[in-house]
Symmetry: D2
Subunit: 399 residues, 4 copies
């Protein structure tokens, strides 16, 4: 049973703590760390946490806790992981795992050498919709996955440090692309190797050095393509959508702006509407329970169950490392203006993958290309002759 | 901390147990009762419940448990409540509380005389969307609530007993209307007295005696109107929507069919899609996590917290009694074809209520009736002269 | 080929003229009438209309025109129809046809005795969505229609006269209910007799004498129920939705607020967004082409084709009369608080109608009540024994 | 006034003729050409066209017609344009204009040298939604356009020739990308030069040589990015969506699958549901009036008005040429795996374009980076110090 140290008291530390302490949970944060005593103390009081400290080492080593949740700025992840490895404690790290694949690889090596439990807190693959969709895809409801699109765009991050490239490691790609990339990877299949990346990135709006907008394509070994779209310049709230297209079907998920909750208010809601909401009057689109809809509650549930059972969780530091490797390739591509290979030191997935097209036979002589009902009610068939390769069409009347 | 007896192993007992045992929960079902040993044993095995029995009295009196969840057919609620009262155990009863207001009142009296904790398991006011919407309404985001509409329609209930009026007490009104009525009551305000009901009910499709379709209007003391629409003859899945209209705003909730999860599958999902789904291929609309979206998880969370703290929960047997009183009036109205008064033996809410219109002053001489931007960009004002009552219009150009 | 007199230069006269003159149309308004010379002249100039006048008799009798479109306030319809009958000209009258069924019947008698072409300008049954949906329903896509719901609510009408009961004949029912009632009648079938009406009406918000909110149920001879919901107190724009439920299917139409056009603007659109839109910033929901989406263009197309071909149009004064008869019953019911019969002087539809339930046979011994896939993948059947009437259930495993 | 020759009797010729002859139109097709007499004759009979022929030259030269609509396979466009130029007749060509930019340029030169009216039949920029959205963007409702996404995907084209690269010139890019590219160009502004293209293309599903899936990015001189997504392998119908993101707002258009028309049918619609629909039962999403919703009616209206008035239409052969130039670059990029320049022989738009970021000043010392309401109701500001470039944050409490 985890007794938790929470590192960081920003928005993510708050969301994590609320999720962990949530509905009738048996889990508790025992120790909280913040850079300033004032914030640490206030946070401990608010969430009824017995111990607070401004000393990172003390927090991690505290004897009342056996698991550490890292909710710190990106440039402080590696140091925290080092100390967890040294202390032999289970570690859960927020996204992105690191600023670069090299940094991520060092962190992976640390936890694997220390033999400690490690979870990568990629919450958006744990949303109830994503989980059910993954289950359907794994059951074959979509046939072979051909294309995924994951989009996360909003008007920009909450914290000042994230706007500073030195601390964060980048802009919208590092902040949001990590989500989108891992969502695509889950739908396509983690055993399929990501081969190369093409990425456009630009600073379109904000007076910053990092990119505030980017679009990337990740090509996988089985021919699937995975698209990510990220921006800190979107207007209208937080656009959080996933789309998957397969040979047999399609999935569209909307996690935030169109979830069946629509509200018009001339009076205003008097404050907070939803994360990254831009307006308090007019048409508003709140979500029911953000902690569940954004995946925090199911994520910690799965992670802590895994810890209790001594099995690896769905998302580990290895996954975080792969995401960083893909983001590295994205940054290289944005600079070189060509496809760049994904450089993975130690690939643990499938080594060979079938790239083949999905052929449907119509009869002994023909492949079926397409079948459609026409406005006059007849059915038109597009067929390919197996021997000649010629495309022919046939009309079948409805009777 | 509740140690729970679960009465009933049908779909509702299953959903309740899954919700109670769910994500990292500290709560457990200790005893399960079913009419048949086979089902009781299988259920206990599936959900890791230490004790099973086919004896209702034994189940309720079991020394390892201090709280009883009633998931039995409607005609067996009263007997179970009697035993809980006798045993002095906290009791949580599924919806509807009873078949009639008289039965509900007897059950209310039993628990109040025994002084036991009592919760009415009206899950749909606990959905994350309903809770957030209620919060917004209570904060004034919609001004005065004028109209609510709650709709629950699907192709009919799962269990055979529900199709038999003697056991269930009625048809779609008893099964689904109880949800809709209590949702409307929450939005309008529980302190506002429901005065009278007009209801149409018919058996349109199914070969049964009870109504399979009904529409009702409940008029409240403050002038608000609350509409319920229920059917066992809807095609397309389960239509579960709430709408609220106020003097300052509007809320639309869709709990099931349009929640931001859309899927096309030519291959099919291979089995269960969602409660009351009708198709396994083509366009499908699953929900992310039914136990949360239907309110089961947040409901037990609030109820058990209340039990732990010794406070009444949001929904008590008194609420269930009021709902039964409104349903009684609905059945009377369907027969008499006129508005029928809601007969409440002991009204605990407000005794006087302001019915007044919501006036907006335009200037010293006029009330503002309406303001609108026209196609040519000008703004048209409809005003009412305070002294004469005459309606006049003014055009204001945009500049 | 119609040469048109347009009576009235308000918003409806404007929409009508724009629709008639629209995309490559061969039809033209030749004469326009308004109460004031200033408005008549400006309108004629704007729409390139050769003749304008402030004399109603002159306008109708003008030799350059053979067809009259009435876009006047409700209390002036009858007079205009009288003159058209006298002049022997085709007449098209805006909705509602009249303020009462008696007035409507006089107008119907006038046009029938004069033998002139008469069209009832109920645009909302002509929207492209309504037309396609009607076609699907008539083809049997929904089986037997059981329930319709038509909702039109917005913050109130544009023109001052409509807020004055003497001129308009009533409030939201007369203004909006006429649309909803005729939409429901089309879906259920015009040959089916409307038997009785139950209606709630109230003045909830505005400082006026007429009702600003109403909900009504119309019961038809075949057992179908048709629901109308109207309000001048809705916030958020214009809510214009139709829903139809049948024994085999469901239709949901949204004509205005959720049509696949969604826009967030922090800058604002600089003026008109859409009819009855309330906001110019934030999330906005414009419609593509209002004249088409609201049915004006297809309506005049069908009406003028009928005139050219000498056949009656889809909507005649008889339809307008039936709508007024239903509205009369609604007003009576709102006062009497009971169901009121629809009084029709001369019923031209079916005299006998099958009310029967829709039975589906399962096997020689059983009726099928319901079939559903359960969470464990099995299929549960609810059956009714033909001889005993007993309800039984069967479980069928998926294999 | 156009008297029209229709070249081609396939689905597009049918849609064009229906649109031209539609609602009270004054325009008529006078001559129809098809390769086979049987089809020409049947088409002429169906649409009441006086003259039919199987001779292309005769059709174009026919003395009863002054305008030619080209609805032929792609490889026959140039020949038809040559004949129109020779005959001095107005010409309207379906999309794509040509198979390559070189072919398009020759066609452009032909019509310009001949001085004939030329229209490029890009219907999807004429949809009512696209037109209103363009108007809003041009009015500044979105600020500076930063990103556009246009997606057209379906299970593949109707006609056999389109599956043959020699006749069509390519696959999904040539068929669908031409739409998406021109939609993006309209939103960003036609005066802004498209600079370079990055494109991924693959044959993922069908047994053909051309690409059945592609994703491309077009970078414009003002820094905007325009994304196209096309596929012949989408399942679920026709996905036709446009999205635009600007510094001040967002637009989402759905033209086909989610337009406010939702239908469940267990019985089926008995034939045609909508273009590229895959199912006839279950949940269906028809569109109201395809000819309007897909832009055909408004397109011919604008084009013929322009012809009557002697002005160029919104979309000319020059636009078709630019689209072909962008598609050429896309094909080159798919092969070279890098960004490829858009090669335009004669650029007629702006030569210099501001690329600048959109700065918002907070006060004399700071730029405003971002402002957001937090869960506790406070407002967090992210600011950039003008002199140091340092990012700082400030919290402002709500009071």
């Amino acid at each position: 049973m985890p007794k938790i140290v929470m590192l960081g008291t920003g928005l993510i530390g708050r969301f994590y703590t609320m999720a962990i302490h949530g509905q009738r949970s048996r889990d508790r944060v025992q120790v909280v760390y913040s850079r300033t005593a004032e914030r640490a103390q206030a946070f401990a009081a608010e969430f009824d946490i017995p111990v607070w400290t401004t000393d990172l080492a003390d927090a991690i080593a505290h004897p009342d806790a056996n698991a550490v949740v890292i909710g710190l700025p990106n440039h402080r992840h590696e140091e925290a992981v080092q100390r967890c490895a040294a202390a032999g404690k289970a570690v859960f790290c927020t996204k992105p795992l690191a600023r670069t694949a090299a940094e991520a690889k060092r962190m992976l090596d640390l936890v694997e050498r220390a033999g400690i439990f490690h979870g990568y807190l990629e919450d958006l693959v744990y949303t109830p919709k994503a989980q059910k969709a993954l289950h359907a895809v794994q059951n074959g409801a979509l046939g072979k996955v051909l294309w995924t699109r994951s989009r996360e765009t909003h008007p920009g991050p909450h914290s000042d440090w994230f706007w500073d490239k030195a601390q964060s490691g980048g802009g919208a790609i590092i902040d949001l692309g990590c989500h989108c990339i891992e969502i695509g990877r889950n739908f396509i299949g983690k055993q399929i190797r990501p081969l190369e990346v093409m990425c456009w990135a630009a600073t379109q709006v904000h007076p910053i050095e990092a990119e505030d907008s980017a679009i990337g394509l990740v090509r996988y070994a089985d021919g699937a393509i995975s698209q990510f779209e990220v921006s800190w310049a979107f207007r209208g709230g937080m656009d959080l959508r996933d789309e998957v297209s397969g040979s047999e079907g399609t999935i569209w998920l909307n996690h935030f702006l169109r979830t069946g909750f629509e509200m018009f208010s001339a009076a205003g809601m008097g404050g907070y509407v939803a994360e990254k909401s831009e307006t308090e009057r007019g048409w508003l689109f709140p979500v029911g329970d953000e902690l569940t809809e954004l995946g925090y509650v199911p994520m910690f549930s799965e992670m802590f169950d895994a810890l209790d059972q001594g099995t690896p969780p769905m998302e580990t530091f290895y996954d975080g490392y792969i995401v960083n490797a893909i983001m590295d390739a994205a940054y290289r591509s944005a600079a070189s203006k060509r496809w760049e290979p994904v450089e993975i030191e130690e690939w643990r997935g499938a080594l060979e993958t079938d790239q083949g097209q999905v052929q449907r036979e119509y009869d002994a002589q023909h492949w079926l290309v397409k079948e459609e009902t026409m406005p006059d009610g007849s059915v038109k068939l597009i067929l390919k002759e197996k021997t000649t390769g010629r495309i022919v069409q046939q009309i079948r009347s409805l009777t």
